[in-house]
Amino acid sequence: MSDFFSLDLTLRQGRFVLHVAARLGETAAVVGPSGAGKTSLLEAIAGLRRADGRIAVGGEVLQDSAAGVFLPPERRRLGYVPQDGALFPHLSVLRNLTFGRTRRRDPDGGTHLEALVALLDLGQLLTRYPRHLSGGERRRVALGRALLAHPRLLLLDEPTAGLDPVRARKALAGIRRVHAELGVPLLVVTHQPQEALALASEVLLLDGGAVRAVGPARQVLLAPGILAQEGGRRWENYVRAIIVRHHPAGGSTEVRLDGGEAVTIPHTPDLAEGADLLLSIDAEDLLLATAPPVGLSARNAVAGRVDELIPVGSSVYARVGPWLAHLTPAAVAELGLAAGSPVWLVAKTHSWRVVA
């Protein structure tokens, strides 16, 4: 756990009190159900809402009520991206983008407008007005606008809310690309554990006005309680991987997952060997076998052990290391699965999706 970002805040809104104390690294997510005070917390960090306590980012104190320090929002250098972007409706995309750039001199040469426009694919949009943009486009512009002000930390509020799954994945990919290229630290607020897994390495879990857990993303988010809250929603497993080699004739690409397992994914010639990527696979698409599979068209089998069986509604999630597989109770009974059972996770090549 790193010390990049430290927070010890008390927010009051009527009778609702939220106390948050945590130290987080350069990619962190605040996860919690709606109404947990996530947006208010983000606003307090940005200096837009009064809260008691201390905030320090990258060694600089932005607020310390005990010492009478309160930097106003314009001096915090935090890139706040509200839920639907909150673009200025009276300004063109270009003027939205450069709004934060005009007054702040860039200390180290940093980001240029052109590079950012290319990175976020905004070239076609520059002369348009926000009311003519789609939800995804607005968010990209808002992200660019925040980045051009050279923030020391990006604050993203529900970056995929209201987007369909395909656009949501694209949005996540865009944020990851920006983070990889520019190295800007991220603090993401979301109610979707998967989004946190895709973007952050550390997670702060909020519920009922308090911090329920802080720690490495997988450890915090794969806890049974979280899954139960997710209810019947589709669970996507996210995993980082490296391209090992392409097999154009076989229509596939071989990758190594961050746990060391070799896996075959659909052919992705646009990524070079050795390139880093984020993959996802639905819990529905992971099959469990109690013996090494033979005579099966599925190309990927990874050995593991069932860590726990998590009943959610009328189905069961089996957690195998960092993976969740979705099963019916009948299948669990037939295979005689229990915590500790050795299993093989099986997946088709085409069940894997390249997120970024």
Binding site: P72, E74, H90, A146
Partner: protein, 197 residues
Amino acid sequence: MAWLLSRRGWRGRTVVETLVSLPLVLPPTAVGLALLLLFGRNGPLGRPFYAVFGFDIAFTWRGVVLASAIMSFPLLVRSARSAFEEVDPRLPAVARTLGRGPWRAFFEVELPLAWRGVLAGTVLSFARALGEFGATILVAGNIPGRTQTLALALFQEVQMGRDGEALKLAGIAALLAALALGLSEALMRRREKTLEN
């Protein structure tokens, strides 16, 4: 003033709001009487005013202006306030995080988004001022050629039995009012298009 009233949660907001809106609900003649007592040559405001500037307010064209202004101010404030209230509060907030102080956030974001509404309110209150009768007649009297407003002249024509003249004046008043309403309406429609997001 309108911007202040569009903000929530400051002390005294209700008091200021009530004072500003009072002329809207009081009988205009009551407002006129109050103004006459305050600004008459021997009134607590009228006397020092005369001493400093050397002219009267009551029973001059200045009285007409004062009465019209006081009477139409609530209308202006109300429409301007709703114009500011319609601006998404996150927009000035985002401007702050992008390095703007509170004043620049106001002038670069809130005002440009609200100005059509403010202007529509101005037009509307101008139209209202045209028809002001009760307060004006008390503060400024009804001196033909000096403090006679359109509404006052109309009343006089009717009193003198010159219905034709009165009707002409009513026609002019209707025309001006319709123009003002149309303009205000058009401004609001353009504004909705800008805000729609």
